[in-house]
Symmetry: C2
Amino acid sequence: MSTTDTPVDNGVNVAALLGAREAFTAAPEAAQFKWRANCTWRKGTHSSSTVDRFFGLGEEQQHRQTYTFDADHPEIFASEDNGATPVEFVLVALASCLTAGVAAVAQNREIQLRSVSATLEGDMDVSGILGIDSDIRNGFSGIKVTYDIDADASPDDIKALVAQSQKRSAVYDIITNPTNVTVEVR
Amino acid sequence: MSTTDTPVDNGVNVAALLGAREAFTAAPEAAQFKWRANCTWRKGTHSSSTVDRFFGLGEEQQHRQTYTFDADHPEIFASEDNGATPVEFVLVALASCLTAGVAAVAQNREIQLRSVSATLEGDMDVSGILGIDSDIRNGFSGIKVTYDIDADASPDDIKALVAQSQKRSAVYDIITNPTNVTVEVR
């Protein structure tokens, strides 16, 4: 642990986030967001999804650019492996949400981060999705996330950062708690 | 609805999948998979995640290539929008999982698909993640998936395809049911 003369800068604009908190408290309807993705089937288990527009602050918003993601199953499932598997996208979502949270909480607590990395592993018995045993769930039986963090803080303070990130993480909530999904065919 | 002389081909090797089902029934330990992602913090809310190796069929496996995904928050949250948001990755995961399932089920039911596309929208009150109101959850209040499918089948058969895909979807299960997540700091 060391002290520095330079101000803590993790690249997170905490003042803006605290300003947003005040603004949303005054105008709760601005906090209603709609996040979107569009998916087009390519062939077999291969699809391409795009992320572009979303709704928030009371109006339509747009990313700086359209993000495109190919997903597929691996060759050992007789597919072509044209992209990560859908369940690996879930791990990417969780990793990136918790990691952004670590940076934001560190900034708010004036802890300088030097490096943050995470390893995620999700266990799955594919007997579920293949319909071999209806007692085995389709999804992960569990996910383990392991962080390596180098920061200007004690081990306990670093653990507290990660704990607070979990507490405010959208994706951690989505995975650990049930969410209603409606599927319709037009 | 029309009939064709050519065999149904959606690009899914159903014979291989049914073979896998037999193989896993005979050797259940081969069905134990571990899916992984690694995440490195860049700056602020920006991170890069990679997907490369996984475990299955009793041994280490590797994708044809390493897939890399940048995630970030949008500019309206005072971030740089260097990638899709973590919650949009959840939508991509759900879209790609259900769409791969539609293709696989269609193949098994001998339904020729011509086009499949899906639009996903997840509602979120960001008062949750900003800590404004602890009664508001961090994640989506709900997700709506809408499919447009052109296939050699009746509207009812197409709806049944999508329903069966939901029933066997890993990501649909992960989102609609709780999954245990353990987070550790090394």
